[in-house]
């Protein structure tokens, strides 16, 4: 049933829920990852940066007023769900945390210099006013056009829309829908009408009410009520800002004023948001929970859920697989919007406050009409003939929310209060409904540029981010003797192929026409014959096949687990052994596997110890091999034993291991030889090797030297030694990969361990790396807890053996670089000896041939693996994205989080192959380039300031967060191993978690309420708003939780309300707060329950265990907490505002 879930996410139910988001605006949704974007180029571009501020077009200003796009709406922004950005370490704060508010403002407002802000004043003000008007329009429009369309002229819809629209891309999409929809012709027509929205500006004319921006749908509606308020609040603000720093940053003087005002301005957004949230947020969250539950549930009933689904879809708006799939498109619309009549009335339909509407509408109408006249001219002659100014105007008026211009220097508080969700591609609804979940498959640009030249123009990276083996709560599994694939490109049949007739289908990747096999004509779900397009394969973008024997090179391997443990003096000192043995004992029955499962143990210090666990022995037998130069296996047959047959011996061993080495004085570590031995042991079968290491290997092959100079940790110069010191580990990893052995590395060390070299062993064998700096069983209880929880997850999570993953894409696109842990075996084939549900991947793409006559392109990731039960399975994900041919459409489809994630991967590569400063420059240039090309090519009205489209408004912030992230920061003391580990994580973590590591989420938790809370499994989970990462947002009176992915900090203000201290922390006053608190006491108070529920909920969402540190002013960790305040200035890094000024300066150069 997973399908269902997907659908709900993507789109079915979406209609309304998503409203905030992208769905409705096709344009807005599009994302464009810049492909060919190499970091190098970026640099090259620098000098090139567009110097010309772009003269304002003649028509520009006039158009302004008409702009339908509500400025306010930006606040409303949709990003409800998904990712929680976070980033760990950052530079030290100069400022005192507390005094913050007043002191801070100056710097931010700082650039008073702003000389000539005249224009801004003019330019900006209009928007608010306009916006209000536009506001109404939008809501109405979207609904109206769609409906009318459908009802009135279904057939016409697609065709006209396609050709006519000046904005080629959008239209195209629509068309595509029609064309592609292949399977369901009728539906296609219907849909086409629906999606066209933005395009619709033209089509709209036909329909009458034709309002420009479709996208606004969901959006507008909720917003409607609040809008009036918001704008007003805003305007006052502007004056305060008035002087804002248009010009170059120059010196920062704290001239600026009234923080108060600014804050006030900031505030307005929340209300709006809340309104939306009421409906939306709750919905979003529930789905999350199921995620981590394992188990593929075979669900034959794709169809089953339909009826209820509609209802569900509402609830589970965004992510996950909660909703069922809906096979039948045509009916759908009606189902969803049954209550909505065509035309203006629709607006009121939305859930939000209806009372306002009438008035609003009245107000709106005049405005709406106004824009139309402008648009019409274009409509008549055709887009091509528009004069530039006209084009500009029409563009403006049609601008989807994602393209609404935001002046980053003026608008603060752009961070949405709830997690940012992935934009929805602007596809026809029926396609979008079937599309792959953004959690599994995400593109940096949701609209793929038509040509490489266009991509280069947009200067954004084009790539995909995948989480292919994610735990899904519902996943359709198909067993069939023939798996239908394209005969020429071997693509698996998927929802985006088109059926020419009942017996033939056309591949959506290579366009070859294939026959539908006889077997495929029968639909097991509905038990009907002759409906190949209703098969689960064609109804689910994510599906799993049980592979027949053609997909096996050898009989599926059993689950084999080998544990390689460091038992040198240093290791014993840390005490990890007892925790490890206990964890394995506890979870020994939960290890994934079947009756063939094998386990083995190897320990090592300066010698290698094997354990003979053969059945029949009365106790485990230890065999010591001291010839580490030429390692051999003493008894090859009895070292890896069947877990079920020898469970007692294994348990004996685990119980005795910790005491066995208690007195050891051996300090050397022959890791290299131990790995070689383990490789020999595993190579006949393949399997998983878990290596626990606590120090630098210093004996035998693979011995390493300490390369870190502690005095250079804070150096602002280039960081050395990011690349491996030896290729021993890499070569061994490749050997492992060849024998289907993956190596997972657990590094528990206070000392330098050379993560850069050791990490290779996991990186190229598709393993994972865990790092517990300063692990000690007594001194560091938080790490111990984390280690325990991580181990539990590690031992019990799903695992796939001897896997390969291939990513295919539509002809014309090509994949050129992969990021993650794997070995690239051929240009599109990744070899993954093991695949685990917590691994993410990224790929960069380029456009090799123009995608001229295509409306959509597809990407398919197929993962072939052996399950722990010995089944060969294929998991297939297919993503379909529209093609766009204008720069503004590409910008409208940019997915800022995916772009950030991909840039981070690219920057990691760059820091290793070139240098860290190179990588930092490249990231800065990436933001400069894309914003300047936005200004140059997509912006029609030139205004002063640093302008960004709404969908990219967080881009500079994320880039700054990356620069201050542990992996890339300079000037702040960062241990080399931690830096390398952060780099590995950026490449290896799925996007949602990587974003939290980049940009942590900050919540105020001393005043949690049940308002807007989620209800999951009868637990109430409060949903505080996400705050900006600035000390300004902290207050002495509060308690704040920072969620940085792998770690959480709870900062307690000095004057924190005693109620919170007693009810949540269980201490009478601030002074009584212990220094090293890492657990919240389980008090039986409402406050405590709320806080714990919230933290527990955050933890449940991720596969690793974030430890919690409670921090007060004197805590050692306080600097770490303060370094995560990304928007503030530190000794070595710019504040957000300064960074913006820098970017602006570069752009206008």
């Amino acid at each position: 049933m997973s399908t269902a879930g997907f659908n709900s996410q993507n789109g079915t139910g979406t209609g309304q829920t998503y409203a905030n988001g992208p769905t409705q605006n096709p344009v807005a949704l599009q994302q464009t990852p810049g492909v060919g974007y190499s970091m190098n180029h970026q640099q090259a571009y620098n000098p090139m940066q567009a110097k010309a501020p772009a003269p304002p077009g003649p028509g520009l200003y006039p158009s302004g007023p008409y702009q339908p796009i509500p400025p306010i709406s930006s606040y409303l922004l949709g990003p409800q769900v998904t990712s929680y950005p976070s980033s760990p370490g950052h530079p030290l704060l100069t400022r005192p945390p507390m005094g913050a508010t007043p002191s801070h403002t100056p710097p931010l407002s700082a650039s008073p210099i702003p000389g000539p802000r005249m224009p801004p004043a003019q330019a900006t003000p209009p928007p608010p006013a306009v916006s209000s008007s536009s506001y109404y329009q939008n809501p109405q429009q979207p609904m109206a056009p769609v409906w009318q369309y459908n009802a009135a002229t279904p057939p016409m819809g697609p065709a006209p829309s396609m050709n006519t629209p000046p904005r080629g891309p959008v239209t195209n999409h629509v068309n595509q829908a029609a064309g592609l929809a292949g399977p369901l012709p009728q539906s296609a027509a219907v849909y086409s009408s629906a999606p066209p929205p933005h395009m619709s500006s033209r089509p709209a004319q036909f329909s009458g009410p034709g309002l420009p921006p479709t996208s606004m749908h969901g959006y507008t509606q909720p917003g409607t009520a609040p809008p009036p308020m918001a704008p007003q609040a805003y305007q006052p603000v502007r004056p305060a800002y008035g002087p804002p720093p248009t010009g170059p940053p120059s010196s920062m003087k704290p001239t600026l004023p009234p923080t108060g005002t600014s804050v006030a301005s900031a505030t307005p957004p929340p209300p709006n948001v809340d309104a939306q949230c009421g409906g939306v947020v709750p919905n979003v969250l529930p789905p999350t929970e199921p995620d981590f539950q394992e188990g593929d549930i075979e669900c034959p009933g794709t169809v089953a859920g339909n009826g209820p689904q509609a209802a569900n879809s509402y609830n589970h708006v965004d992510n996950r697989m909660a909703g069922p799939t809906q096979p039948a498109p045509p009916g759908r619309h009606l189902g969803h919007y049954p209550s909505l009549p065509p035309g203006y009335q629709n607006t009121s339909a939305p859930p939000v406050n209806p009372p306002m509407h009438p008035a609003m509408q009245a107000a709106t109408q005049p405005y709406t009409q106004a824009p139309q006249p402008f648009q019409q001219p274009p409509g008549g002659p055709g887009p091509a003939q528009l004069s530039p100014s006209m084009a500009a105007m029409s563009l403006q008026s049609n601008t989807p929310e994602a393209l609404r211009v935001v002046n980053l220097l003026q608008e603060r508080n752009l961070l949405p209060p709830s997690p940012v969700s992935a934009p929805t591609p602007c596809l026809p609804q029926d396609l979008q409904k079937l599309n792959c979940s953004p959690e599994v498959f995400r593109s940096t640009l949701t609209s793929i540029p038509q040509t490489q030249a266009l991509l280069n123009k947009a200067k954004m990276p084009l790539g995909l981010l995948l989480h292919p083996f994610k735990d899904l709560s519902q996943l359709p599994v198909v067993t069939s003797s023939t798996i239908v694939r394209c005969r020429s490109c071997r693509t698996y049949i998927n929802p985006f192929v088109s059926f020419l007739d009942q017996r033939r289908w056309k591949c959506n990747l290579c366009y070859r026409v294939n026959d539908v096999p006889e077997e495929f004509m029968y639909n097991p779900v509905s038990r009907s014959y002759g409906e190949p397009h209703k098969r689960p394969e064609v109804q689910n973008a994510t599906i799993e096949f049980i592979a027949p024997s053609e997909y096996m090179l050898r009989p599926p391997q059993p689950a084999v687990y080998l544990f390689v443990l460091d038992v040198s003096h240093n290791a014993v000192e840390t005490g990890f052994l007892s925790v490890f043995c206990q964890s394995v004992l506890d979870n020994i029955d939960a290890l994934p596997g079947d009756s063939r499962t094998k386990v083995g143990f190897i320990t090592f210090d300066s010698t290698i110890h094997f354990y003979n666990l053969q059945e029949g022995l009365s106790q485990p037998q230890m065999l010591i091999v001291s010839d580490i130069e030429d390692i051999f296996l003493p008894t090859p047959d009895s070292l890896l034993v069947n877990l079920n047959e020898c469970k007692e011996l294994v348990q004996d061993l685990l119980k005795s291991l910790p005491s066995l080495f208690e007195k050891t004085m051996e300090t050397q570590s022959a890791l290299g030889s131990a790995l070689q031995a383990a490789f020999k042991l595993l190579s006949p079968t393949g399997g998983r090797m878990s290596v626990f290491q606590t120090q630098l290997p210093n004996l035998g092959v693979g011995a390493l030297q300490s390369r870190e100079d502690p005095n250079q940790r804070a150096s602002s110069k280039d960081i050395q030694h990011l690349s491996p010191a030896t290729d021993f580990y890499k070569k061994l990893a490749l050997d492992c990969s060849g024998q289907q052995v993956a190596v997972d590395l657990f590094l528990l060390s206070a000392q330098y361990c050379d993560m850069a070299s050791l990490g290779c062993i996991s990186r190229y064998s598709a393993g994972s790396v865990y790092y517990y700096p300063s692990y000690h069983h007594r001194h560091n209880p938080a790490q111990v807890e984390r280690f325990q929880k991580d181990l539990k997850r590690y031992l019990t999570r799903k695992i796939g053996f001897e896997a390969v993953m291939r990513i295919r894409c539509t002809k014309g696109l090509s994949i050129h670089t992969f990021h993650g842990n794997f070995f690239v075996r051929s240009t599109d084939l990744l070899s993954l000896p093991n695949v685990n549900p917590d691994a993410g991947f990224a790929v960069q793409m380029s456009i090799e041939e123009n995608l001229d006559d295509m409306q959509v392109v597809s990407f398919q990731a197929a993962l072939l693996y052996t399950s722990s039960k010995g089944e060969r399975r294929i998991r297939v994900h297919t993503l379909c994205l529209p093609v766009a041919n204008s720069v503004s459409d590409i910008f409208a489809g940019a997915d800022v989080q995916a772009i950030t994630g991909l840039l981070a991967c690219m920057a990691v590569d760059r820091s290793v192959t070139a240098s860290l400063s190179d990588a930092r420059d490249a990231m800065i240039n990436a933001s400069i380039d894309s914003l300047s090309s936005y200004r140059q090519f997509a912006l029609t009205i030139q205004q002063p300031g640093l302008l960004a489209p709404t969908c990219l408004r967080l881009f500079p912030l994320y880039i700054l967060a990356l620069l201050k992230q542990k992996a890339f920061r300079t000037g702040t003391s960062t241990r080399l191993d931690e830096r390398m580990f952060a780099m590995y994580q950026l490449k290896y973590q799925p996007l949602a978690f990587a974003m939290l590591m980049i940009h942590p989420a900050l919540y105020r938790v001393d005043d949690l309420t049940d308002e807007g809370a989620l209800n999951i499994n009868e637990r109430t989970i409060p949903q505080p708003a996400i705050l900006q990462l600035s000390v300004e947002k902290l207050s002495r009176e509060g308690a704040f939780l920072m969620d940085a992915g792998t770690v959480m900090y709870l900062w307690i203000g000095r004057n924190c309300h005693p109620n919170f201290l007693t009810q949540v922390l269980g201490v009478p006053n601030y002074a009584a707060l212990p220094d090293n608190l890492y657990l919240l006491p389980e008090l039986d108070t409402a406050e405590s329950q709320r806080t714990r529920a919230f933290i527990g909920w955050l933890r449940d969402q991720r596969p690793f265990f974030p430890s919690l540190h409670i921090i007060r002013d004197e805590s050692q960790l306080k600097p770490v907490f303060m370094q995560s305040m990304i928007e503030d200035r530190t000794e070595s890094a710019l504040s957000y505002y300064e960074f913006l000024l820098h970017v602006q300066q570069q752009i206008s150069k």
Binding site: S723, T817, F823, T827
Partner: protein
């Protein structure tokens, strides 16, 4: 004397370049580098400055390319973990084609050089008067 050292160098280079042409196609980089280095040294000994100058950029490129190779314990240039990245693969192929072109041109240049340097010897003195 019918044969100078320079003529011998040219003849040698002529033959070896023929081999290089194939190596460039097949990406046998180490033999290619060695052979190229070898006849560069020969030209140096023969004091054929012009020819040497023409070859120096490629020689320098080879040295740079080999010194900046990924960390590797054995000899070799291509890293198995990155070579399959399409951009690196494309770079290596482009490099191969460029070298192929260079070797083809130099093949004819050496042929000419060989004829020129040896014909000078056969030229009777009275022609020079």
């Amino acid at each position: 004397m019918a044969f100078t050292f320079a003529a011998f160098c040219y003849m040698l280079a002529l033959l070896l370049t023929a081999a290089l042409i194939f190596f460039a196609i097949w990406h046998l980089v180490l033999p290619e580098y060695l052979i190229h280095f070898f006849f560069c040294v020969m030209f140096l000994c023969a004091t054929e400055w012009l020819t040497l100058t023409l070859n120096l950029p490629l020689l320098a490129y080879h040295v740079w390319r080999y010194t900046s190779r990924p960390v590797m314990s054995g000899p070799g240039l291509y890293d198995p973990t990155t070579i399959m990245n399409a951009d690196i693969l494309a770079y290596c192929q482009k490099e191969g084609w460029c070298k192929l072109a260079f070797y083809l041109l130099s093949f004819f240049y050496y042929l000419y050089g060989y004829v020129f340097s040896s014909s000078r010897l056969f030229t009777p003195d009275y022609f020079l008067i």
